[in-house]
Symmetry: C2
Subunit: 216 residues, 2 copies
């Protein structure tokens, strides 16, 4: 499958490399084509990996991952272009973390709105799926880094787009438990979990931390 990755940070590189290894044709996009980070990634990831501007990656992908920093995501997606995103699945992995007010970061949008919903509103003909934002990059593509069962959340307005994403999470990345929280307004809950994640990370001194949803 042709996949576009927006963002050249750890999340974009980790997802991109895993997807290349799964046999997909992956193009990483950054602000300008030919960025050092994207070129270095494409060289290391090898055959099936390429790079370009945001718009190149979006045009290339049948599925597109938003791996940009949350506060820059809407700008990056505008640069990617409405037409290049139209009708496609956009898997939004980002978190609207605002580091400008010190550590731990706060959220630039929360409570009655979410970044996932803002993206959906800005690109109404794109099928936005929110997932993977609640774990560290390495865990996204290798949930076995934590032994036993633990939970990945997913939300979105398009059932088929969620089905495709769940399949990729389970069969591609190895997630055993993917919990569908409903429509994209659940992105509020997924993003508002981040402050707890940050506390767990600080307390337990490891980024390999997640939760397993349990019930009576």
């Amino acid at each position: 499958m042709r996949i576009g990755i927006l963002g050249t940070g750890v999340v974009g590189k980790t997802l991109g490399t895993k997807l290349v290894r799964l046999g997909h044709d992956v193009r990483m996009g950054s602000r300008k084509a030919g960025s050092d980070k994207a070129k270095a990634w494409a060289k290391e990831a090898g055959s099936g990996a390429s790079e370009g501007a945001f718009a190149d990656a979006a045009a290339h992908g049948e599925i597109i991952f938003n791996c940009t920093a949350g506060m820059a995501s809407l700008d990056a997606l505008r640069a990617a272009g409405t037409r290049n995103l139209q009708g496609k699945i956009l898997i939004d992995v980002s978190n609207p973390l605002d580091f400008s007010k010190g550590m731990p970061p706060s959220l630039s949008v929360s409570n009655t709105d979410s970044l996932g919903e803002q993206i959906q509103k800005s690109f109404p003909e794109t099928k936005v799926v929110k997932t993977l934002n609640t774990v560290t990059a390495a865990l996204m593509v290798d949930p076995s880094l934590i032994p036993g069962m633990h939970t990945m959340f997913i939300s979105g307005n398009d059932a088929q787009a969620k089905d495709t994403t769940v399949k990729l999470l389970k069969e591609g990345f190895g997630w055993k438990e993917v919990l569908d929280l409903g429509d994209l307004s659940a992105a509020r809950a997924q993003e508002m979990y981040l402050p707890l994640w940050l506390r767990l990370y600080m307390k337990l001194q490891t980024a390999n931390v997640n939760v397993h949803v349990v019930r009576g």
Copy 2:
């Protein structure tokens, strides 16, 4: 031990009854002494249970539980009185849920502040401990309603107050895993978990739901 319970809802009644059964001397407080709900609870809970105004319950307790609705908590605590709360442990179980904008509720304070911190700021000589707000009332006092391990979070600025509370949670209520998230600013994370809890409740159709924190 003498314990004050502020609030006559399901949370207050459930905690109050459990504490009476554990042998504590529990006084439930409401806006006015002699409320029907508090009197009915005291009668049912039996010996060791009494009721009065918020100030009566606060004056009575060595430990006080805030079980009022989050948006009414600061008013209830003001009615309880600064002097009656001074130097005491206040276990804040409440959530700042705002139901005025429809379902699911939003939070009336979040992100860069929390209800727990607002209470601490309003009553600087009271030892505020935030805990139990992430599970339904029945589960607070009987975590075995969910089989296996699951996690209760706690935060607060006073180490000794947290120790006393952890002991009550473990030895009194049966919690096996209580995770100290640090100082009371972690109440933001605990309260911002509520939107996720509400989604899980809606999705799984049971209030007996919690998370188990797991790590690599």
